[in-house]
């Protein structure tokens, strides 16, 4: 793998983790009860840890003096490469659960693959993350079932969340030139394989939760080129506020 290609890849994955971590941090104090509030925030903390490790390594590989903090707090929206799914807002508890559940499935596969690569920094990050994400998948999967097979209200809400978020799933198995290079070097599985795995897992879980898989709809594309939904800009305004208002602030 070329150094800069690997750096770009770490930024993509790191960005998705970072943006999800911020979304999860917004759940803090909004959980349905104390224990779940802590669980939701913990999911965010795990993701923040993964984002930090990936962005530190990306900055190092890049080798042009930018730090992980620069990457997180000093890039505009168009230079973020997280999946659009990850930036979708916490419209209600069901939206947060569905977004995180689908991403947990995706990350499980990604980290399992990365745990076997030669690069020791990457495989180290992945080995640790695999365990964390296994718990995310379990915890979130439980909620998918609980809400889907719960009351009429919870069923309708989570079905709405699945339907509304469905168009963002296509990006998870999309491929561009960088993805092909990654696949050739053993850093990623093919888009086709990822799609089959995701659809298999999601449809089994939704069926178990008495939910239906949405009809195939238009799938969005663009985050690998820095194109995003309207939500990311607002989120960055808040996330990057301190650096924007007080550049290089120290305390």
């Amino acid at each position: 793998m070329e150094r800069l290609d690997l750096s770009k890849f770490c930024i993509r994955l790191g960005d998705s983790c970072l943006i999800m971590a911020h979304r999860q941090s917004e759940m803090c104090s909004k959980g349905p009860f104390l224990e779940e509030d802590i669980a939701q925030t913990n999911l965010g903390l795990d993701l923040l840890g993964q984002a930090e490790a990936l962005l530190i390594y990306a900055a190092k590989l890049e080798g042009n003096g930018r730090t992980a903090d620069d990457l997180a707090f000093r890039r505009p929206e168009r230079e973020f490469y997280n999946f659009m799914l990850t930036e979708q807002p916490n419209t209600d508890f069901a939206f947060a659960i569905v977004r995180q559940y689908i991403m947990a499935l995706y990350l499980t596969k990604v980290y399992e693959t990365l745990a076997k690569v030669e690069d020791e920094t990457i495989s180290g990050v992945a080995l640790k993350a695999v365990k964390e994400i296994a718990y995310h998948e379990r915890h979130l999967g439980m909620w998918v079932k609980r809400l889907g097979d719960g009351t009429n209200e919870s069923h309708d809400r989570i079905q709405t969340a699945v339907n509304e978020l469905w168009m963002f799933v296509g990006e998870l198995y999309e491929e561009d030139d960088l993805d092909v290079k990654l696949q050739e070097a053993g850093y990623a599985i093919s888009g086709e394989e990822m799609k089959a795995y995701l659809m298999d897992k999601i449809s089994a879980q939704l069926a178990d939760a008495t939910l239906s898989v949405p009809e195939s709809v238009y799938m969005t594309t663009g985050s690998k080129k820095g194109i995003h939904t309207e939500y990311l800009g607002y989120m960055l305004t808040e996330m990057q506020y301190l650096q924007r208002a007080y550049p290089d602030a120290k305390w």
Binding site: F33, L34, E35, I38, A39, Y135, M142
Partner: protein, 98 residues
């Protein structure tokens, strides 16, 4: 004013084992609606910092406790019977957790 209904689920008591082979110790309690959720909530609250290798959760209402007003008749009679403690034996070196 009517009382606010508790919607957080049943109370469960959490017991943690710090190392395999050691007894489980009471760590605290959690709210949850069933067994699975109880064990997950307990994990998030009590074992995030490497506190344990084993964990039990038990519905709080399944625990039978001594009524504090019975303390005297339950516990005091043993106070003057020190011979019930194995304190007159010397332990061989290397024995741990006794």
């Amino acid at each position: 004013m009517s009382e606010v209904k508790d919607t957080q689920g049943q109370l469960w008591e959490v017991f943690i084992q710090t190392k395999k082979g050691l007894p489980f110790k009471h760590a605290g309690s959690v709210h949850a609606f069933d067994k699975e959720m109880a064990i997950q909530n307990a994990r998030d609250l009590y074992t995030r910092r490497g506190e344990g290798r084993g964990m039990w959760v038990v519905p709080a209402d399944a625990i039978v406790a001594v009524d504090p007003s019975d303390d005297e008749s339950f516990f005091d009679p043993s106070n003057d019977k020190i011979y019930r403690h194995p304190t007159f034996y010397e332990l061989p070196e290397g024995i741990k957790n006794m």
